[in-house]
Amino acid sequence: MPKEQANWSPYDNNGGSCFAVAGADYCVIAADTRMSTGYNILTRDTQKSVNYKCVMASSGFQADVKALQKHLAARHLIYQHQHNKQMSCPAMAQLLSNTLYYKRFFPYYSFNVLGGLDNEGKGCVFTYDAVGSYEKVGYSSQGSGSTLIMPFLDNQLKSPSPLLLPARDAVTPLAEAEAIDLVKTVFASASERDIYTGDKLEIVVINADGIRREYMDLRKD
C-alpha cells in the first residue's frame, strides 16, 4: 500500500509588498496593509513594519513575520540593557541576518527590508532573503509586487553599484518629498497589477528629526 504523505504545510503566503529607499539624510520605508490567503483577504489593516531606530518591513507569511519581530524586539531590549543605548542600523542589520540564518533548516518565510540612518546620519537600506543573506543597497522592494516595482525603481533610481572602484555614492539624489511621492506612485502602480497588493499604504520616514508615519489609500479591489 503506497505511503500517504502529509499534505499539511506549516507555511502560507499572505502576500503584500514592501519597499525602502535611502536618501542623503533620510530613509523611507513603506508597506501595504493587505493580508491575504489564496484569493481571500484576511484583513485590510495589518501592520507590516516595526520600528526602533530603524524600521523593518516584511512580506511573506505574517505569522513568521510576527514571530521574527518579537524575537528581534527581545534581543533589542537585551542589547539596550547591556549597552545602555539603542542598536544602530548596521548592528540591527547583522542581528536580523543571524536570526534568520539560525532558522536555516526551518526558515522564517519572511522577506524583509530594513531601513534607517547609519552612524553618520546617511540613509541606509538593507535587503534580505528568507534565510538571512543581506546586502546594503540604495533601494529595494520585497514581496509579491517586487517584480513589478523593482524594474521601475531601477529605471528611476539606478544607483552605481557599491562594488565599483573608484567608489561612487549609492544613496539616491532625490529630496525627501520627491522620494515620498515616488513611493506613492510606485505602490499605486503595483496595486493596479498585483492582486495581493492594495487597501492602504503605510509610509514611515526616518530622518534627523525622528520617525514619522503617513498613510495613503490604495485600490481596495
Binding site: A6, S97, K103, F106, P107, D129, G132, S133
Partner: protein, 272 residues
Amino acid sequence: MKLDTTGMESAAPVWGSHNELVDEFSAAPSFELPNTTDFDGFQKEAIQMVKPAKGTTTLAFIFKEGVMVAADSRASMGGYISSQSVKKIIEINPYMLGTMAGGAADCQFWHRNLGTKCRLHELANKRRISVTGASKLFANILYSYRGIGLSVGTMIAGWDETGPGLYYVDNEGGRLKGMRFSVGSGSPYAYGVLDNGYRYDMSVEEAAELARRAIYHATFRDGASGGVASVYYVGPNGWKKLSGDDVGELHYRYYPVMPSTVEQEMVEVTGA
C-alpha cells in the same frame, strides 16, 4: 576521525542552566530542526522558497607575485535577477579572502563564522592562522553538515608564512589545494580564457587584466553571471581591491563600436 560537531549541538536549553537568548554567541551555533517524518522532502520544499544564488562566476589563481581573486556580482532566484551588486568576495581577515558560490546566506554566514574562528586562533596561539588551517576548519564544518542541504562552493585564498595559498572547499566536504580554480555556472567560460592566458611569471597588472577578462567573458556567455567584475590581489602585505568594473562598460572597452562606412545613403525624393 573526530567530526567537528560544534555546529550541531541541540537547541533545547538544559533546565535552569542558561538563558538561551544571551548564550547564543558563546555557544556554537545550534539549529532548530523541523519535527517531520520526512526531513528531506521538507528541505526540498524549503529550498524552493530560498532558491540560492547558484548562478555565478568566481575564479582565483596563484602566480609569481601572489594570488589573484575575481568574481561577478549577480544573484538570481530562478529566472529573476534578485541583485546585481552582491559581494561575492568576502574579506575573512586582512590577509585572507573567501569567494562565494552557491547559497548566498550559507556562504555569508559560514565565512563570517570562519573569520571568528581565525581570530580566536590568533588570540589563542599568538600568531596568524595559515591558509591550510583556515580551509581545513571550513571544510570540517561543511563535512559535519554534509547531506543536510547547505550549498557552498568557495575558494579560500591568502598569504601566510609559507607564501601564497589557495584552496577550494565545497559543501560535500571536499577540499582541494591548487594553483587555478574557477567555480560557478560561468566557470567553463572563465577557465577557457584563464587557462589560455595564464603564465606563472606575470606582473600584477597582467594578472589582474587576465582575471578581469575571464570574468567578463563568463558574464558575456552565462546568463546567470553579470553585474560588476571585482578583482582582488593578495600579496605579502594582505589583500587589496584592484578594480570593480561594470561588465557592460567592459564590453565596450574591449570591443568598441566602430562607426561603419555608409555604402548606400538614402536621399529624400522631392516632388511627385
